[in-house]
């Protein structure tokens, strides 16, 4: 049996002129100072405010109805009192509920169930007032629930309950997790109000998710205004749980990351949210949120997140693989009649793939050793690489989304993918000029003229473009056996393989042509392996988007 509340305010006595009839008079709201004080005492300031806002024009109290009820309650006539209350006019019912001594008397006269039935019977008064009496009496979810499902109770009466912390305590006492979830569902109101009650009672992740899901987006994101709510969330879930909950809440990327950072988040969860944010939303993250994220992540992780926020990077991958590729060489170069044989060479694919919101970037960090390159050398090589690879391709998908493929050689970079040794040109014994030799992926010539005047003393742009192809994992396309040519390039140009094999007319073959779509295969495959939700696969297309 719940503890009964002492009826301390019950100082009134049954009036001598109590009516013979117990039929209550016409509806009245007790707006007298005494009535309001009583309501304030029993139901709180908010209830008083609500009453005054919704009250009809003031009317004199009808003392008879109150007196009649008082008499019955004093007599301990529970059944009589319930019947009497069922016949009271709505206004009298409200007055009765606002009369402090009556509540004390009722608590004495009724048990839990009788109190509930008395409240069910009353045609007037607010839900708050009735629950106030039931709380004073002590009750159960089973008894309270019918009041909440009563279609006659207006919404404002339900939502005003949230302003009463004692009622929150009352509900916490009578409800388990599921019951509290049902209670706030019946009460309606804001998500914040509902979760407040649920968290105080003690709730589950599933229940919180259901409750969030019951609200429209605008109602969900209002939750971010309440830091105490973030604390509740943090107590309830871990990194990934918080990430899931903020996904459910929606809102701006800043809102979500701020709450995630508060919980102590992790790189994967942060990166995933940034990746899925819209092209405008990812720019909204504030310095404060950034600072909080930085505290949660390692320096390396933070630098990746920074790239996502500053440059719109969506995904990045360091490619580091190697393989053997065959092509024909002379068995013995000293013998002009020597046969050809298959030699295998290492092809090292080391580069960074970076997909941003606006491009697919293939970045190669290159460190030069040996001779220090001049600006003229770097320009020569960059121009040569650009001439072949820049604006040569883009990707597009069935939705018409297009991204340029940007090739980005980063010279003299830290943490290089490749090291290229720069060697001096050799003196031409015929002319006395300095001339370059053949370059490869690891050795380039760098002369003092940087090819500004003939003869060329420096590995030229075309060769740099070919070697750059190797740096991003492309193999040579010259002197290939038919099967290798068809595997790497495509259909062989002749049915019979000539001595020394086939050579393509591309940048990776004899350099008489440029790059081809198939050279983009690895990059496009990587991109298609990491599509955004709902994004359609891409294919390479020649030219800029």
């Amino acid at each position: 049996m719940p503890e009964r509340t002492p009826a301390a305010a019950d100082q009134e006595r049954r009036p001598a002129d109590a009516p013979a009839s117990l039929v209550p008079g016409p509806a009245r709201l007790d707006l007298s100072p005494r009535g309001l004080i009583a309501l304030q005492r029993t139901a709180g300031n908010a209830a008083v405010g609500a009453l005054l806002q919704r009250a009809p024009a003031a009317a004199p109290p009808k003392a008879d109805a109150i007196a009649g009820l008082r008499m019955l309650l004093r007599d301990g006539d529970a059944h009589g009192a319930i019947a009497y209350m069922g016949r009271m006019e709505p206004g009298d019912a409200g007055n009765a509920l606002a009369t402090g001594d009556l509540r004390g008397l009722a608590v004495k006269a009724f048990d839990d169930e009788e109190m509930a039935h008395a409240m069910y019977a009353l045609k007037g008064g607010t839900l708050h007032q009735k629950l106030n009496w039931m709380a004073a009496e002590g009750s159960s979810w089973k008894l309270v629930r019918p009041l909440l499902v009563d279609p006659g109770v207006p919404d404002w009466q339900k939502t005003e309950l949230y302003q009463q912390n004692y009622l929150r305590s009352f509900f916490s006492k009578i409800c388990g997790d599921d019951e509290m979830e049902e209670a706030v569902g019946l009460l309606g109101g804001t998500l914040e109000a509902q979760l407040n009650w649920m968290f105080v009672e003690g709730t589950s992740v599933a229940a919180v998710k259901r409750r969030i899901g019951a609200h429209k987006p605008a109602g969900r994101i209002a939750l971010y205004r309440h830091d105490y709510m973030r604390d509740f969330f943090a107590d309830l879930v871990g990194d990934d749980g918080m990430a899931e909950l903020v996904d459910l809440l929606g809102g701006s990327l800043d809102d979500r990351l701020r709450w995630m950072a508060y919980e102590d988040t992790n790189y994967a969860a942060v990166a995933d949210r940034i990746r899925k944010a819209s092209d405008t939303d990812y720019k909204t993250v504030t310095p404060d949120t950034r600072w909080r994220l930085q505290q949660d992540l390692s320096a390396k992780e933070w630098s990746r997140v920074e790239a996502m926020l500053d440059r719109g990077v969506l995904d990045a991958h360091e490619v580091d693989t190697s393989r053997k590729e065959p092509h024909w060489e002379k068995k013995d170069y000293t013998d002009p009649t020597s046969k050809w044989y298959v030699e295998t060479y290492d092809v090292e694919s080391k580069y960074q793939l970076e997909r941003t919101r606006t491009e697919l970037r293939v970045r190669v960090r290159i460190k030069f050793t040996g001779i220090t390159p001049t600006a003229a050398h770097l320009k020569l090589w960059r121009d040569g690489i650009d001439a072949v690879w820049k604006d040569a391709f883009h990707v597009e998908n069935a939705d018409g989304k297009k991204l340029p493929i940007v090739f980005d050689p980063v010279f003299n970079a830290g943490n290089p993918h490749h090291t290229i040794k720069l060697v001096p040109p050799v003196e031409d014994k015929v002319t006395g000029h300095l001339v370059k030799g053949r370059a490869d992926a690891g050795k380039w010539y760098a002369g003092p003229n940087a090819n500004s005047v003939p003869p060329e003393d420096t590995t030229n742009g075309l060769s740099a473009a070919h070697e750059f192809g190797h740096l991003v994992g492309l193999t040579d396309e010259y002197q290939l056996a038919k099967a290798d040519y068809e595997r790497i390039v495509g259909p062989a140009p002749a049915a019979v393989e000539p001595p020394g094999g086939f050579t393509s007319h591309t940048i990776m073959g004899d350099k008489t042509g440029g790059a081809e779509l198939r050279h983009m295969t690895e990059f496009v495959n990587w991109l298609n392996g990491r599509l955004l939700p709902g994004e359609k696969p891409y294919r390479a297309v020649a030219g800029p988007p």
Partner: protein, 267 residues
């Protein structure tokens, strides 16, 4: 029948068109060389072919002495990882052992002196063509803007034996590079620059099917120089040739670079 091989040296391979210089020195002093493409460090580069020569006794003895240095045995057979693009050098030592190294690297120690001597032998041998193809460019010194400039290309066989030219009609076998220049013009043509230069439009049958020994053939190719100024013109020829070699023929891609010719284009 050739005498036993004393030594052999070659530079071969690399991105097409591949370098090819092969030298074989026999114990009787006979030297045979076959050169398809002498670029980047060989000479001459405007000629490819088969060459034969005999060393004088003193030269042969000096070479044999160098090759007999016991220190040569210390050279690693493959001192570094080879790459396809750079091509490779190969040296056959007296013990029938081959040393192979990247063409973009100097000869490994202690092979430097041997290689230097063999390159001198090769240069000397190339003065004795058995059958070869030499490319020449004799464009006029002046031209009008926008006018067709006859390049004055000739193919000549400076040797005594004929050279057959296979697939002579393929487009792109001759390419010309024109570049505006100022001041002194020097230096040999650059293969890397020429390989992607514009093909020279040739009439059908412009390239002969063969060149008898001592013969010369003019090729009717031309370019247009649109703007006034001084222009440097270089030409590349890539021809498959059957070269005489030890009584037989060997098919080889012959790569020849000719130029520069300076043309002044008037307004």
């Amino acid at each position: 029948m050739s005498a036993a091989l004393l030594t052999a040296y070659a530079v071969g391979g690399g991105i097409p068109p591949a370098t090819y210089e092969a030298l074989r020195v026999h114990e009787d002093g006979v030297v045979r060389a076959v050169v398809g493409n002498a670029w980047p460090f060989g000479a001459p580069q405007d000629e490819a072919g088969s060459y034969e020569h005999r060393l004088e006794d003193g030269e042969l003895a000096a070479l044999a002495a160098v090759l007999s240095d016991p220190a040569l045995g210390e050279a690693s057979s493959r001192p570094e990882e080879l790459t396809a693009d750079a091509g490779r050098c190969q040296l056959r030592l007296g013990d029938d052992r081959d040393v192979v190294w990247s063409a973009s690297a100097p000869a490994p120690e202690p092979l430097g002196p041997v290689v230097e001597r063999l390159r001198a032998v090769l240069a000397a041998a190339r003065r004795h063509p058995a059958g070869a193809v030499a490319l020449a460019l004799e464009a006029p010194a002046t031209a009008g803007a926008g006018e067709a400039l006859p390049l004055g290309i000739t193919l000549r066989n400076p040797g005594r034996e004929p050279v057959a030219l296979a697939q002579p009609g393929d487009a792109g076998r001759l390419r010309a590079r024109v570049r505006r220049v100022e001041g002194e013009v020097g230096g040999r043509p650059d293969l890397e620059a020429l390989v992607a230069a514009e093909p020279v439009a040739l009439p059908p049958g412009a390239i002969p099917a063969g060149l008898p020994g001592g013969s010369e053939q003019t090729i009717a190719g031309e370019v247009a120089l649109a703007a006034p100024g001084r222009w440097r013109v270089d030409v590349l020829a890539r021809l498959d040739a059957d070269l005489p070699y030890e009584g037989e023929t060997v098919r080889l891609e012959c790569v020849m670079l000719a130029g520069p010719v300076v043309v002044t284009v008037g307004a």
